[in-house]
């Protein structure tokens, strides 16, 4: 069941939550709507679900226009951030709810709920009440409840937002495995890029009610469409400078930028990810920046160094592989040279 969102706009008073947003979700895929708070991702999800009505635009499930259909007629499974379990019902009754309102025969309800409780590995807790469950268990019950009536579409609003880090990690891997088993078209909202990249087939990055980029996690990571995406993905160093005659110059940093061969200089911003910077003891032939190590954080898979580059007056974040760190014998206060391996340059018509 594919989902097509065409030119959807939505305002709340004077706040424009969505402006002409179009998104395609292929049938059977798992898509993440990723963005900072206020980007419109949750509003978009709620419009897809029918919990919110778009001011303009259309929503299609496959070829069926559901823009004006009520939520109860859309046959979607919705998982709420705060679970929204029925507090006065047992786990069994919570999962059975969607079946009971559809008047499934008693026997089939029992079978279906049993099947789902085994799927979420909570069959032992069928008789418990939500208040007796942990956060992770509640979220799994919420998921089973949403899946019980065999929805055409599964929608999840920040499904792991209210859980602690470890449970979150486990649950998102579990969600991915679950999706591989049942293949229901799924859309989830998150502000955590790691979560989106780890779980989703495709990621839609949103900002200020617009879609900034859509692609597979790899496409987005390797080819961020614009400075916003670059910056939002994080772990990045920013250099302000200008391009002229095919070269980007920012202080002593110089890289090719063939897309602007003109004589007239234009302001530009260069982005370098912290793992794309090398630390050297001596300047190399390539452009490298002199700096002083201010702080080293060696507890982790890579050593995180903070290097103050006096030329720019900025602090660079550099990820140094552990063996390289040992080889160089870095100490706080050392003067080093930082050389970028990969630089992404964006002309500055774009305000972050």
């Amino acid at each position: 069941m594919s989902i097509t969102v065409k030119q959807v706009s939505k305002s709340f008073g004077s706040f424009r939550a969505l402006e002409h947003v179009s998104v395609e979700v292929a049938g059977g895929s798992l898509v993440a709507l990723l963005g900072p708070s206020g980007s419109g991702k949750t509003t978009l999800l709620r419009i897809i679900a029918g919990l919110e009505v778009a001011d303009s635009g259309t929503v299609l499930y496959e070829d069926e226009d559901v823009t004006d259909a009520a939520v109860k007629d859309r046959n979607v499974g919705f998982v709420f951030q705060h679970y929204a379990l029925f507090r006065h019902m047992t786990v069994f009754e919570n999962v059975a709810f969607g079946l009971r309102v559809r008047r499934w025969p008693r026997k089939r309800v029992k079978e279906r709920v049993g099947e789902l409780l085994r799927l979420i590995q909570l069959d032992a807790l069928a008789g418990s009440y939500p208040s007796q469950l942990s956060g992770g268990q509640r979220q799994r019950v919420a998921l089973a409840r949403a899946l019980a009536p065999e929805p055409k579409v599964l929608l999840l609003d920040e499904p792991f937002g209210a859980l602690d880090a470890k449970v979150r990690q486990e649950l998102r891997q579990w969600l991915r495995r679950l999706h591989d088993e049942i293949h229901v078209t799924s859309v989830f909202v998150t502000h955590d890029q790691e979560e989106a990249f780890e779980v989703a087939d495709r990621v839609v990055i949103m900002n200020h009610g617009h879609v900034e980029q859509t692609g597979t996690p790899r496409e987005i990571f390797e080819r961020p469409a614009n400075p916003f995406v670059m910056d939002f993905l994080g772990n990045v160093n920013v250099f302000h400078g200008h391009v002229v005659r095919g070269r980007m110059k920012a202080g002593s940093l110089e890289v090719d930028y063939p897309a602007h061969p003109h004589d007239e200089p234009r302001p530009a911003t260069a982005f370098v990810r912290s793992h794309e910077l090398d630390i050297l003891r001596t300047p190399n032939g390539r452009s490298s920046l002199e700096g002083k190590i201010m702080h080293l954080s060696p507890a982790g898979p890579v050593v995180k160094a903070r290097v103050f580059a006096a030329d720019f007056g900025i602090v660079l974040n550099v990820d140094v592989p552990r063996d390289r760190y040992a080889e160089l014998g870095l100490e706080v206060g050392d003067t080093v040279y930082v050389a970028p391996r990969d630089v992404r340059v964006y002309l500055q018509d774009y305000i972050i």
Binding site: V71, H82, R87, V101
Partner: protein, 292 residues
Amino acid sequence: MSTPEKTNPRSDPRWVRVALIAAALGVIGVLIVIPLVDVFVEAFGRGLGAYWQTLTGDADTQAAIRLTLTVAPIALALNLIFGIAAAWAISRFRFPGRTLLTALIDLPFSVSPVVAGLIFVLIFGLQGYLGPWLRAHDWRIIFATPGLVLATTFVTFPFIARELIPLMEAIGADEEIAAASLGASGWQLFRRVTLPNIKWGLVYGIILCNARAMGEFGAVYVVSGHITGRTDTMPLRVEKLFQEYNTPGAFAVASLLASLALVTLAVKTALEWKTRRDLAEAARLRSEGDAA
């Protein structure tokens, strides 16, 4: 410091505590306990047989009891429908005039019941706005049961709504939205999700509303017209018996109302305890949900 007598720095001196407790108990004793006991002493003073005879032997007293048992349930049913509708509207929707509606629900609490009664006389009475029309169609409202129902409903109007609004706001609409997303119709959603969540608050509102409906005097006094055996409710009957120097009769009926009050108080206390627990539970579930 080595004082032999330990004093708790956070509490007042002993004599202050004793004086305050004595004053509180004294006031409660004089204003509440003694009168209440007195009602029963006066009612049962001549023995159970005489008490029973007083209640059952007088046809007018019987009529008053029947009338109260007719008017109170109707008023209660009307307020039940209105209260749930108002609480739903106020706690689930944002609409212009919402604050005004919330304030208006409280109006019967702040208006003197006598004024409330007069308003109905002014509207439905013979000289009132609708009087001639009602008379032409041979409908009696004032000085008849419909007037009593109207006045009682007006006065007891806030109890159920006031009880439900804070409860429904605390519980929130999340579960109802979830139910809708699972395909529940409006009625299924109300019956299976909302009602079980608010049931104790609702029962509490019903108990209070009923107690007030049965005990209402002022508004009913104005609209009843005091027709013995026809429009006298129990409180009106008590007053009339008392004015006729029929003290045993007055206290016998009064004892029924007092018993109702005691039962209400007991149920109310039990429910308050339960509702508080439900509210705490709602708050706990929410805060756990919010803890990231």
